[in-house]
């Protein structure tokens, strides 16, 4: 373990046996007696890389390539079956914004609950409350139950809470499509300010233009395996080339 690196993956594999999805007693019992075929499915297959502090990396790949699996391991939500993941620093994961919100609580109540879940102290939450509300642009709706919000408003609120955790490592999974044009600009500015202040970032987005702008480096995954690791411009060019070649053929 080297504390000089932000994130280290050493031969990391994540394997789902096909029976993992089955959660009934019967399938477990059949599993014990070996009646279910246990074909392993590799969500990630022996992936190794090192991320330095201050580096910002784009993760590229089609659906099911293993992007989310990789991010969940960096976030400390799931664990590899083989290999080793080392993370140095406080991680904030912006995954599925607003999924931790409760529709019957008001915006203000949800801010506090979410902040507590993300690991903010009571003092810091009180201190940040006004700036979170202001950043979200929700206005007086903040004291209305969340079920009255539009989905855009909900994601704006989620983004506003999460970026205030003050992380060392920031994980951004498709968060650039949050809210309206104005908010997207604010969102991008915030992320750029993170980059300038030297945070480590891992980004997933379908917009390669955004990734090109935000990231220095890119990792391309396909079926759980690393295809390419290099500068963002290089890898994105190759990746897009592959897509058009496929579409053409």
């Amino acid at each position: 373990m080297n504390p000089d690196h932000a994130v280290t993956f050493e031969g990391v594999s994540k394997i789902y046996s096909r029976s993992t999805g089955r959660k009934l007693l019967r399938s477990h019992v059949e599993g014990w007696f070996g009646r279910l075929p246990r074909e392993p499915f590799y969500a990630l297959n022996k992936v190794s890389f090192t991320l330095e502090h201050c580096e910002s990396v784009a993760i590229l790949g089609s659906n099911g390539a293993g992007k989310s699996t990789m991010l969940s391991m960096v976030a400390g939500l799931s664990y590899p079956n083989e290999g080793r993941v080392t993370v140095n620093g406080r991680v904030a994961a912006l995954l599925e914004l607003g999924s931790g919100f409760h529709p019957d609580l008001t915006g203000a109540e949800n801010i506090e609950l979410n902040a507590a879940l993300l690991g903010l102290s009571k003092k810091r939450t009180d201190y940040l409350f006004d700036s979170i509300v202001e950043f979200s642009g929700i206005g007086e709706f903040i004291h209305e139950p969340l079920r009255t919000y539009s989905s855009g408003m909900m994601m704006r609120l989620g983004f506003s809470v999460a970026v205030n955790v003050d992380p060392d490592i920031l994980i951004l999974d498709e968060v650039f499509a949050v809210g309206d044009q104005d908010f997207q600009v604010k969102c991008r500015e915030k992320v750029l300010s993170f980059k300038k202040s030297g945070k480590t970032m891992l980004c997933v987005s379908h917009s390669t233009a955004t990734l090109n702008q935000l990231c220095d480096r890119a990792i391309w995954l396909d079926h759980g395996q690393m295809v390419m690791d290099g500068t963002a411009a290089e890898v994105i060019a190759q990746y897009e080339g592959r897509s058009t070649a496929k579409a053409g053929g």
């Binding site: 959660k23 400390g76 999924s99 931790g100 609580l105 109540e109 507590a116 690991g119 102290s121 009571k122």
Partner: protein
């Protein structure tokens, strides 16, 4: 070595627990027009029915029968509700668990503690009924909080173990539901613990809910301290259950993300 799940979470336990409890209260009571009234009304209705049945329909020889039955029902109801809501708590909060790294133990424990307000209201009603039946508050009542805390610890242990199992085997909640219907008869609710044959008594003593009910009756209806052997067994079983529950939970929590 895999790091513990909590290693990257640097928040405040109290702040988080407080917020989870507040969420539960707000959601539960905001959606009811009677609010707290329901917590008072449902045991009152129950008491009315019991009083009618056991004084008019099937008169019982046991003195102060409504208070006697309620001494059984209050601890039982709390435990049943806590065990069941605790068991499904992780699945109900799957969204939170898949997205944030807060210590997972806090979810089943918060779900048990969220039932405590309801429990407190029921105990309050029980005490009023006991006094109305002609008993005087006395020094033995000080044992009541001890018994209550032990029961909460036991419920937390059961919630930890079964919530973790429920993530892997979704039948668990139905097993718990069936076990609760059995438990109603394995706890002396409608009968006095004295009629239990001696050879079966140890089973009741080792069942923390039955033990809590017997202790409640000792304290409130017999004006005496619960027997030392009873309280010590209750303490032992509660502590062991909590420890084992936590152990099971810790072993299983690493793969919650994959199964939720």
């Amino acid at each position: 070595m895999t790091p513990a799940l909590t290693s990257r979470w640097t928040g405040e336990y109290r702040f988080l627990l407080g917020n989870l409890l507040l969420k539960d209260f707000r959601v539960r009571y905001r959606n009811m027009s009677l609010g707290f009234g329901w917590s008072v009304a449902s045991p009152l209705v129950m008491m009315g029915v019991l009083t009618f049945i056991f004084t008019r329909v099937m008169p019982s020889t046991i003195e102060h029968f409504p208070a006697f039955v309620l001494c059984g029902l209050v601890p039982l109801n709390f435990f049943s509700l806590s065990w069941l809501t605790g068991t499904v708590s992780l699945i109900d909060n799957a969204g939170l668990i898949k997205r944030t790294t807060f210590p997972r133990e806090i979810i089943p424990i918060a779900s048990v503690l969220a039932n405590c307000l309801h429990f407190a209201i029921q105990i309050g009603l029980l005490l009023i009924l006991v006094v109305a039946s002609g008993y005087q508050p006395n020094v033995n009542w000080l044992f009541l909080p001890v018994i209550i805390v032990l029961e909460i610890v036991f419920a937390c242990g059961m919630a930890l173990a079964f919530s973790a199992l429920d993530v892997y085997v979704r039948d668990t909640r139905y097993v718990v539901e069936s076990a609760i219907t059995v438990l109603i008869w394995m706890v002396p609710i409608f009968y006095d613990s004295n009629i239990i044959p001696q050879k079966y008594r140890v089973v009741y003593h080792l069942n923390p809910i039955a033990a809590a009910v017997m202790a409640f009756r000792n304290i409130l209806l017999e004006n005496k301290m619960p027997a030392f052997s009873l309280v010590s067994k209750l303490t032992l079983v509660s502590a062991v259950t909590f420890g084992v529950g936590l152990l099971i939970f810790r072993r299983l929590k690493m793969r919650f993300y994959d199964y939720l």
